[in-house]
Every structure is written in C-alpha cells, then in structure tokens.
C-alpha cells in the first residue's frame, strides 16, 4: 500500500472533517438549547460563504475583517430567524418546528439563487497557495489555515460554555428550561443566542469550504445533510461528539473515496458515512457521546 496516498487521504479527511465538526457543533448547540433540529444549517453555511465572497470580491474588504463582518451578520440573521420564525412556535409540536426549519432552508436557498444565480462563483484566493512539505507529502496552506481556524473557534466555544456566565446559563437551560426560568434566566434570550452561535459557526464552515474548493455554488447547502450523520454518530447533544464525529466521517469519506471507489466504480464516498451511521446506531443508539440520563444509585 502506498503510504503517501494514505496520508494524503487522511489529511484531506481531517480538513473536511474539521469543517463538518464545526457545522455539526452549530447543529448540536441548537438541539441542546431548544430541542429542535435545524435542517437549515447547510443554508446558514451557504449564506455565510456568499456574503463573505461578496465582501471580498466586490468591496475588497481584507479577509479577516470580512470574516468578522460575516460573523456579525450571521449572528444577527440567526437571532432574527429565532425571534421571528421560531419563537412563536415555542410549545408547539417538535415536528412542526422541524418542518419550519425545512421551509426556512428552501427560502434561504431560493434567496441566494435569486441574488447570485446558480453558477459556480470563484472564491478569491485568500491563503498563500504554495504547498508546505509535511514529511513526505505536500499539504496546501489553505488546509492548514482551515484546521487552525476550526481549532481556534472550537476552543473559543468550549471556554465560552465552560466559563462564561451566559454559557453556563445556556447549559442550564439545556438541562431544564423550567428550572432555568426559576433562576431568573431569560430562556428566550438563550434560544436567540444559540441560534446566533449556530449561524456563526456555519458561516465559518462555509467560508473555509469556499477557500478550499476555490469556488462556491448551490451544492454548499448539501453540507447540512452531510452533517446529519455526523451529529447522530457523535450523539445529538454532545459538542465533543460533534467534533469527533465530524473528523471520523471526514476521514472515512476520503478513505472510502480513495480505496473503495476504484473497486466499486465510484459513489462509495457518498454512501460510506451513512453506512457507518447505521452500524453505529445499531450498537450505540445514543451515538458515541450522547447523554444517557444520570441514574443515581
């Protein structure tokens, strides 16, 4: 077996996986806080990518500033969507909430098509293109930056949930909304914040995908679907699970693309995550890190 080929696949998997992980984190945050599955996560990602692209190529904003503006906009978008569309649904059936997010995804997709059309738009090169040699294999610098960005963002999120007052209050809300209310926590505010955070991390995922692929189009929204096996694999309510699950699915995808596709004639890359998902759910129905309730003995 060619070791360089293997390593190359591994690194590709790691990069894609880390982006999956990021988007999955957004998914998990909304699920934990509000109990809803946000099926428009992929569209959040797309909106972020297109907005950043616009800032970069049309207004010539420097990359890091463009990211910050995109974040601010994404946060606003998330909070507004929560306020206008999801808050009136508090207390209604879970299925209706999920259906609404599905509708939301169609609307966002249509709006983007309206504004930018369906053609692939080239994404400006923001990271230096010369590859770096890591051991025997050349790795594009964009990949390294992508992994770096994801790591920083995840670290920030983790410390936010662990140490900040709002973060702890959000975890308390996830644990029990009624008790959180009795502590004087504004549960509605916590919902809005979780949507804002989810929109931010998805936007980051979109931007990174744009830089790596070199161009963006409608297919970005499929990421929302891709992330579903990731979160179910990791456990719907576990951020750590989302990260590990994202990396596993990313690597698995690239390995099956590299080794199985030539044997079966293509397509293994797309199916592999879902096969793994079914297998894991058969043995660990809560996912790898999903919470089973604490039982006191």
């Amino acid at each position: 077996m060619d070791i360089t080929f293997l390593l190359q696949l591994f690194i590709n998997g790691l990069v894609v996986g880390s982006i999956y992980a990021l988007v999955a984190t957004g998914f998990v945050i909304i699920y934990k806080a509000t109990g809803a599955l946000n099926l428009a996560q992929g569209e959040f990602l797309m909106v972020g990518a297109y907005l950043c692209l616009n800032l970069l190529s049309k207004y010539q904003v420097p990359f890091w500033q463009a990211i910050l503006i995109t974040f601010a906009f994404a946060a606003l978008l998330g909070a507004i969507i929560e306020r206008v569309i999801l808050r009136p649904l508090i207390g209604s059936h879970l299925i209706s909430v999920i259906m609404v997010t599905l509708g939301l995804s169609s609307i966002l997709k249509a709006l983007i098509q309206l504004a930018y059309g369906t053609d692939t738009i080239p994404f400006p090169e923001v990271f230096p293109s010369a590859p770096v040699q890591i051991g025997p294999i050349p790795v594009s610098q964009g990949y390294l930056y992508a992994i770096g960005c994801v790591t920083v963002l995840v670290a920030l999120l983790t410390s936010f949930f662990k140490y900040s007052k709002t973060g702890i209050a959000m975890r308390a809300t996830a644990s029990s909304q009624q008790v959180a209310l009795s502590m004087g926590i504004s549960v509605k505010k916590m919902f809005a914040i979780s949507w804002a955070i989810a929109a931010i991390v998805s936007a980051m995922g979109g931007i990174l995908l744009g830089t790596i692929r070199g161009g963006i189009d409608m297919s970005l929204s499929h990421m929302g679907l891709k992330v579903l096996p990731v979160v179910i694999l990791g456990g719907l309510d576990s951020i750590l699970g989302a990260i590990v699950g994202g990396l596993i699915i990313g690597i698995l995808e690239n390995f099956s693309g590299g080794y199985l596709d030539p044997l079966v004639g293509g397509g293994a890359k797309e199916v592999a995550p879902y096969i793994a998902l079914i297998l894991i759910l058969m043995f660990k129905p809560y996912g790898l890190f999903g919470k089973k309730k604490i039982e006191r003995v």
């Binding site: 009795s182 004087g184 006191r296």
Partner: protein, 263 residues
C-alpha cells in the same frame, strides 16, 4: 411583604385550581402552607414565582402583591429580579452541571461580583459537604445533598422571599431535620423571609411562625404555630395525635363530617 388576596388560578383555561386563596407572609418570618395532595400548594408557589406560565396556567383574578407592587402574571425572570426565588419540588438541580456551576446559575441575576463571591463562600459554609465536592456533577449527589444544593442555589440570588416546595420530599428523616435547622438558620441570620410548602406538618411546625392550611384551592384555616398545634382537627388530621384512638367508621357520623371538611 407578600399579600395574596382572592387569587384564582386556571390551568389550560379550564381547570380552576385556586378558588379565591388569600394569605399573608410578613417580613422576615417563616410561613408554612400545609395541605393534602392536589390542594393547590405548589400552584400557589408557582403563581407567586411566575412559573405557572410555563405550565399553561394563569392567575385569572385576585391580586398578588409583593412589597407594594402587583406581580400578577409577570415573567419569572422579572420576579426573580424583584427578590422572589422558588426552590422547586423534587430539588431539580442541573444534573449535568457541577455543584459550583449550579451555584453560579443560581446567582445569574446578580450584578455585584464581590457580593457574589462572598455569598458563594457563605453557601459553602452553610453546607460544607458541598464544598468538598464542588467540582463534581451534581447528578451524583444524594437526595439530601441535592436539596442542600437547591437551597444554596437559591441563596446565591440573595432573595428577599424564598419559596420552598416540600424540602422534605424523599429525604431520610435525619437529613430532613438537618435541612430544616438550616432553613431556620437562613431565616434568622440572612433575614430571608420564607414561605414553606409541606406535607410533613410536624417538621414544618418546628420552624414556622405562622401556618395556613389549604384545602381544595382555598385557605381552610390559619393561625400562629401555637394556635395550630393546639387545634384538635389539626392534631387529628395532620399530626396524628388526636384523641380518637379507636378505628374510624362511617357509623361515627360526626367524625366523618369533620374529616370531610378536611380532605
């Protein structure tokens, strides 16, 4: 401090649970609210703390007045900021947060960092067992320790009025004793007014100044602890020390009528 007059509470717009309940909690006292299951004790507390809303209930008439201000149907977060804090029935600690984080959440509405820190030390002084295990998940605490945490969490908010919903529920008798002594101590040392809901009349009488008995959504009787303890009905139905030692039977019509009034 807290005056409830003729309060009515309706759940789901249909079920009338409180039917004109009135009670008065004077400042820095302990008032107990006793009654059978389904009498409306917890509903009364939730009406005060605003948690009714999350259960589709509302105060449909009457008034709840806290320190001269109407608090009918206010949002719970506002009511907490006004100084009322409810310790819910069954402890309800955040099981997947550590003890320390639980206390942090209790002080969520606090703005003064110094007072916050001081109060956390104070809570750990009241409940030294919690300090030992401050970084453990609270889900692994025993029932009694969870109750202590729930009370400590309430203390973190520095409430003027603390609502305690059955702190003795499901806890070993010795620990119940300890917890009630601590409640009394909090009342005298922190000057926290307490409205206590209990089924265990004996233990409630050991610390309260004043007691109300609630029955079918109305106050059936009230008085100081001494008056209540010496009342023959209370003795028989709540303390189990009445004179009627022989078996009750429907032939004993008088007793039956008395009982009917109570339950």
């Amino acid at each position: 401090m807290l005056i409830i007059s003729n309060a009515e509470v309706i759940y789901n717009r249909v079920i009338l649970v409180l039917k004109g309940l009135s009670l008065h909690v004077p400042e820095s006292k302990i008032v107990a609210l006793l009654g059978a299951n389904g009498a409306g004790k917890s509903t009364t507390l939730k009406a005060i703390s605003g948690l009714l809303k999350s259960e589709d209930g509302e105060v449909s008439s009457g008034s709840l007045e806290f320190m001269g201000e109407q608090i009918n149907n206010m949002d719970p977060e506002e009511i907490v900021r006004k100084g009322i804090f409810q310790v819910m029935e069954g402890r309800r600690v955040f099981e997947d947060l550590t003890i320390d984080e639980n206390l942090d959440v209790g002080g969520h509405t606090r703005k003064d960092a110094a007072g916050f820190k001081r109060d956390k030390d104070l809570v750990y002084d009241y409940f030294p067992r919690l300090r030992e295990r401050r970084n453990q998940l609270s889900g692994f605490l025993s029932g009694g320790e969870q109750q202590m945490l729930a009370i400590g969490r309430a203390l973190m908010a520095r409430p003027k009025l603390m609502l305690l919903d059955e702190p003795s529920l499901g806890i070993a008798p010795l620990l119940v004793q300890e917890i009630f002594e601590l409640i009394k101590m909090i009342n005298t040392e922190e000057k926290t007014t307490i409205l206590l809901v209990e089924q265990n009349a004996n233990i409630a009488f050991s610390i309260c100044d004043h007691a109300y008995i609630i029955e079918g959504g109305r106050i059936a009787m009230s008085g100081t602890t001494e008056q209540m303890k010496s009342n023959s009905d209370v003795k028989e139905f709540y303390l189990g020390t009445g004179e009627g030692k022989e078996k009750k039977s429907y032939r004993d019509l008088k007793g039956y009528k008395r009982r009917k009034r109570w339950l």
